[in-house]
């Protein structure tokens, strides 16, 4: 009895020193916060890993390491040979892909992100117009955490700005959804600054085209629920109206006419007048109905031209195919892909200016 309890005590003391599972003690690992992939040559890619090094006196620095390999985990194991602590990916915040690589398809490098259980689904993804490695290596962000900087840059624009919400989770959803193509923000290094320049539109996992900043407003209103954002409308007679969305709601209707689908998008916007400059310099009250009508026309026009752009490139970021599939049992993907460029889409915008400001 005495022996047994002594043995138990010994066991407890022994076990307390070690542990049953492999440990990742926070100061004995190098946590990759950003990864980037660029095309190196025809078969190889250049992977970049960014990880912070924390010091006790809060003078932390960011290390950027790059290696050339065939897969992301191969790159990681090459880089492990030159880091002080093992590289781990649980703190990953942002994944960037070079435009040239994206044109060839990024699925091979997204795959590892969702296979690794330690990586969360809110990792931000973006396509770099240029080189991801160069973006990470910017001297300006040596002491500032560049990956967290990019993550927060994207997130604040999704929350308050015009950028539609994307992350790893939404990318994967759109990628695996039949009848929908993913989209990701497009960022660029411009004059020692990182800025959002557009939205990259994919066909499956291949970069096809991008939409410019000026179409963000209508695109976000079409894909996001309750999207916020500010847009300036130059109306007839060069009246300038700046509206901010308070509430938006886009409803997609599918009608099957002669066996072919037709789409009606009912877009409802509740907005707030932020700025108004009439061309006629006369003292007059803001004619709400008149301008609502004009704004609606502008929106409908720009939405239709955007959709026809998508149809021309045979990409479907709005997920019209997925909506069609929901309504029609005999959905055939091949047939749909052929039909898509010629499908009729109507847009009905309903803009309501709820608030016109405190002086009126």
């Amino acid at each position: 009895m005495m022996n047994r309890s002594a043995f138990c005590l010994f066991l407890i003391l022994l076990l307390s020193g070690c542990s049953f599972l492999p440990t990742n003690i926070v100061n004995e690992i190098d946590m990759a916060q950003g990864v980037g992939y660029d095309l190196s040559d025809k078969t190889n890619i250049k992977g970049t890993i960014v990880f912070p090094i924390f010091k006790k006196d809060k003078t932390s620095t960011t290390e950027v390491r790059a290696a050339i390999g065939k897969s992301s985990k191969e790159i990681r194991s090459i880089l492990n040979n030159e880091t002080r602590y093992p590289l781990v990916s649980g703190q990953l915040r942002v994944a960037l892909y070079g435009k040239n690589l994206a044109k060839k398809g990024i699925n091979d490098f997204v795959d590892t992100l969702h296979r690794d259980p330690s990586i969360g689904s809110i990792v931000q993804m973006a396509i770099v117009d240029g080189n991801a490695n160069e973006l990470y290596k910017m001297k300006k962000y040596k002491n500032d955490n560049v990956s967290v900087h990019i993550q927060e840059l994207l997130e604040q624009n999704m929350k308050m700005g015009l950028l539609p919400e994307t992350n790893l989770q939404s990318f994967l959803f759109q990628f695996f959804q039949i009848g929908q193509d993913p989209y990701l923000p497009l960022i660029k290094k411009e004059a020692e600054n990182i800025r959002i320049t557009g939205l990259a539109i994919f066909k499956d996992d291949r970069y096809v085209t991008s939409i410019p900043m000026k179409d963000f407003f209508i695109f976000k209103a079409l894909v996001d629920k309750n999207s916020l954002g500010l847009r300036q409308f130059i109306l007839a007679n060069r009246d300038k109206v700046v509206l901010e969305t308070i509430n938006s709601n886009a409803k997609y209707k599918v009608n099957i006419v002669h066996g072919r689908p037709e789409f009606t998008i009912n877009l409802k916007l509740k907005t707030k007048l932020q700025e108004f400059a009439a061309s006629e310099k006369e003292r007059q009250a803001f004619d709400k109905k008149k301008y609502q009508k004009q704004v609606e026309q502008v929106l409908e026009k720009s939405a239709l031209s955007m959709v026809s752009q998508f149809q021309k490139h045979r990409v479907d970021p709005l997920g019209l195919g997925a909506k069609y599939k929901e309504h029609f049992r005999g959905f055939n993907e091949k047939q749909w892909n052929e039909d898509y460029p010629n499908v009729k889409v109507h847009v009905n915008a309903d803009v309501e200016i709820v608030q016109t400001g405190s002086i009126d």
Binding site: I12, S16, T23, V26, F54, K56
Partner: protein, 498 residues
């Protein structure tokens, strides 16, 4: 007084006559006095007592003046103006009473029969402020070491004949007077009988404190959780009695034991009833939250810092990792070291005299804590967390329970080191299972399942007094409603079960 010490004469005298057995047994001690009140052998009286137990004031003022005439003991009994006088021939009774501060009066030295007069010296400290359970508002009366005074304090608060007191003697050597208090007509007779029977069954040679009895009659003595509340607050005892709880008082102990109790009662301070119900709810839930913080905070630190680095928010990463950057130990040893250090400071603070204890707090808390961080042995984030946890452990108004909280985090730290968050969760589950199984006097200790209406009137929450209508059903009180007014349904509360 003409007193003649018997010690000298006893040696010769014992040859020709036999002393009663009790006299022989008691006179072994030097503080036993056996004297004759007159110069003549055949005249009255022989008195015997323990010098250290009696009050000489009462002896000289109230007893000795009546011992001049030669009158029978029975007549003497009616003359002496002392309350408790017994005429006895029973050896055991005589010994027992003399040991409790009575004096014996014999007519002749060899008589077995004697008159027992209670002249016990009952000097105790005054009724004072409760030391361990202080409160800003509410009555400032605490129990003391004397049983009669304690019962007197309770009776003053509940002056009704329904307050029954049942006295017993426990302990083969200590012969401690133990009293069981309950409200007749409210307390469940089953509970009363269980308590009385369990106390009667105690076989132990000495009882120094009511906590001895509490832990001897507990349902599960291997549990970390105290299944009774020891309190020195009079209001807590009186409130418990009216709900149908049973109180155990032991002579020589300023703590009264309340049975049966539930876990949540350890978070109830009597002060709660002095505030608005909204405010007191906030404090009551704050104490509950403090218990979770105290038991979970350093295990969570160990688990997250050792295994789950991916849970740390990006903005917190630099603070947490940076503070640990130069620490040479794994988080487990770091946390264990700091927790043990804090516990040592606390323990030393309790054992040391008050004046030294204060300076110890400064030494332990500031100097060592700061020095440890400066030296890079632990991270300053952990120091904050451990300090917070240790502060939180003292929010429970029941001292025994806060000691449980102090202890319980250590096994959780070990589990966190072995299994990470899974271990913390495991510890939580095991504790919950244990608490669900635990009973106090056969009544559920957690009182969480099945959910009772009364648990939300005044247990988990404290509703306004107008809504605290029922006595807690887990106690199976005989009286269902707290007040008898407004034509409410009367009768036993446990009709649901019958």
């Amino acid at each position: 007084m003409n007193l003649k010490n018997s010690d000298k004469g006893k040696g010769e005298g014992s040859n020709r006559r036999t002393d009663p057995i009790w006299l022989e047994r008691l006179s072994q001690s030097n503080d036993f006095v056996h004297e004759h009140t007159s110069f003549r052998e055949d005249e009255p009286f022989w008195i015997s007592y323990y010098r250290t137990l009696i009050s000489s004031d009462i002896l000289h003022k109230d007893v000795l003046p009546y011992l001049q005439e030669q009158i029978p003991l029975a007549e003497l009994k009616s003359r002496i103006p002392v309350q408790e006088i017994i005429l006895s021939k029973d050896t055991n009774e005589i010994i027992q009473n003399i040991l409790n501060g009575h004096m014996a009066i014999q007519k002749h030295q060899s008589d077995v029969e004697c008159l027992l007069i209670n002249i016990a010296n009952s000097k105790f400290r005054d009724v004072g402020v409760p030391n361990m359970e202080s409160s800003a508002l509410g009555p400032q009366v605490g129990f003391i070491e004397e049983l009669d005074t304690n019962i007197n304090l309770v009776r003053k608060r509940l002056p009704v004949p329904e307050l029954h007191v049942k006295e017993m003697k426990v302990g083969e050597l200590s012969k401690t007077k133990v009293a069981v208090l309950y409200m007749d007509g409210i307390a469940d007779p089953e509970n009363i009988n269980t308590v009385i029977q369990r106390i009667e069954d105690i076989q132990y040679d000495h009882i120094q404190d009511s906590s001895y009895i509490a832990s001897m009659i507990e349902d599960n003595s291997n549990s970390l959780f105290p299944q009774s509340i020891s309190t020195e607050r009079v209001d807590r005892v009186a409130a418990g009695l009216t709900e149908g709880k049973i109180i155990i008082v032991a002579d020589g102990s300023p703590n009264l034991v309340i049975l049966p109790v539930t876990l949540m009662e350890s978070f109830i301070a009597m002060e709660d009833y002095s505030y608005s119900w909204i405010i007191s709810n906030f404090f009551r839930l704050l104490r509950l939250a403090a218990m979770f913080i105290s038991t979970m905070i350093s295990p969570l630190y160990v688990a997250i810092m050792t295994y789950h680095y991916e849970l740390i928010p990006a903005r917190l990463l630099e603070t947490l990792v940076g503070s640990r950057a130069a620490v040479p130990f794994p988080p487990f040893l770091e946390a264990l070291f700091l927790e043990l250090m804090i516990e040592m400071v606390k323990e030393a603070g309790i054992r040391l005299p008050l004046k030294i204890g204060q300076s110890l707090g400064v030494v332990g808390g500031i100097v060592i804590g700061q020095a440890v961080v400066e030296a890079g042995l632990t991270s300053n984030v952990l120091l904050i967390l451990v300090g917070l946890g240790s502060l939180a452990s003292y929010t429970s108004p029941v001292y025994k329970f806060s000691n449980t909280i102090r202890f319980i985090k250590f096994p959780v730290i070990f589990l966190a080191q072995w299994f990470g968050l899974l271990g913390v969760f495991l510890a939580f589950q095991l504790t919950l299972i244990h608490l669900l199984r635990l009973t106090s006097l056969g009544r559920p200790y957690l009182s969480q399942y099945p959910i009772r209406n009364t648990s939300f009137q005044d247990l988990w929450l404290r509703l306004p007094f107008s809504m605290q209508k029922e006595n807690p059903t887990t106690l199976r009180p005989q009286k269902k409603w707290k007040s008898t007014g407004k034509g409410k349904k009367m009768g036993p509360a446990n009709d649901f079960y019958e």
